[in-house]
Each structure stands twice: as C-alpha cells, then as structure tokens.
Symmetry: C2
Subunit: 124 residues, 2 copies
C-alpha cells in the first residue's frame, strides 16, 4: 500500500511543469517556495517511488548532477550549458546511430549530449 501525500504531489507537479530536467536540490528548492519546506530525503524517496512507477526517468549527463524529468516526453536528447550547468531538452534525433558500433555489438539505446552555451548565458 502507498499513500498519496502533499509532498509527492508537489514533487510530481514541479517535474511536470518544468521545461528542463531538475536535480533533487532543484526540486527541494522549488517545493519550498511555498509555505512548508520539504526534506531532501523526502525528495529522494519520492523520486525513487516515481521511478519505480515508471512515471519519471533519470537523466544522467557527465559533468552534471543527475536530474529527473517526466517519462512521457518522447524520444529526445539533452544540452548542457558549460556556464550555468543547467540541462535542457532538445528535440529531434538522428538515424543510423547503431551503425557506428562494431557488427558484433548489440546497441540497445543511445544518448546524444550537446555541450555549449545556452541562450541566457550567451546573451551575457
């Protein structure tokens, strides 16, 4: 049995309303904008719970803190700003990536990560 709690609802809503993947500290910070704060342990527990439910996915980018986003955003990739370190979604993909691997390697999935400067940082 599992309960629906104010904290979990807030955490899920924050993830759904964000246009980019969020780190646990990001989530905690946003969740604490309102009245009561939320413990970091609670954020981690909720993320684990939603992951197990298949409602969110983990986004791991080298050089960035692991972050999370809703699982229903379709196939896409990520951009990380070298200045502010924020992770952004980028739509689209390319074909024939599997062809890069040696013939006797089985490719199950792929990630494309773009590194650069985001619009905000680029404008100073």
């Amino acid at each position: 049995m599992s309960y629906s709690t104010r904290q979990r609802e807030v955490i899920l809503e924050i993830l759904q309303q964000s246009d980019r993947p969020l780190t646990p500290p990001d989530i905690r910070e946003r969740a604490s904008q309102g009245s009561a704060g939320i413990g970091l342990a609670t954020v981690y527990r909720a993320l684990k719970f939603f992951m197990a439910q298949g409602m969110i996915v983990l986004v791991e980018i080298p050089g960035a803190v692991p972050c999370y986003e809703p699982a229903d955003r379709g196939h896409h990739h990520h951009f990380i700003c070298q200045q502010c370190r924020l992770v952004f979604d980028v739509q689209g993909c390319v074909h024939d990536l599997e062809a890069l691997a040696p013939r006797d390697f089985q490719v199950q999935r792929h990630d494309i990560i773009l590194y650069g400067v985001c619009a905000r940082c680029g404008a100073q």
Copy 2:
C-alpha cells in the same frame, strides 16, 4: 619543474597501448603486473598531470567509472556494455547534430553514447 619517472612512463604507455579507455583502478592493476606496484594516488596524480599537458582526455559515461584515454585518437564516441560495464571506442560520427539545439544556443561539442551488449558478453 617536473620530473620524468618510471611510474608516469608506465602509466602513459598503458593508456596508449589500450584499445579502450581505462579507469584509475584499471591502470593501477595493469601497472602492477610487473615487479613493483604503483599507488593509486600516484595514478591519480599522473592522470591529472597528463590532463594538464593535454596528453590524455577524461571519458565520462553515466553509469561507468570515469576513465581516460590518449588525446590523439581523433573524433570518436563510446559504447558501454550494460553487462561488463566496460567502455569501448566506436569510430565514426553523424552530421548536423548542432542543428538539434535551439537557434539561440551555441553548440561547442557533442557526445554520442551507445548502450548495449559487447561482443564478448553477447557470446555469453
């Protein structure tokens, strides 16, 4: 001033002779095949030194221990085996990746990571 030592020479040679990126423990293990062992701290210090010299590069793959390879291997990408967790080089690339990012984002570089099962693990 910096000295050339047996340990650093061994470490660099191990990296150059490997056909895949190696982790610090990998390097230490291989360096200790011969007579004298090498301390892990020494491995980390040498890697830091070679990085500063621009002779090697860090390869970061989510889910894998950070590993290193010579900097002169040209543009390529990586494959990580989901079973043995080893990281392999894959040659080739695809074009127009920069086009995936929003127009006001500047793309400086990219990474492609393939996840799957390597030849050895695929053959049991």
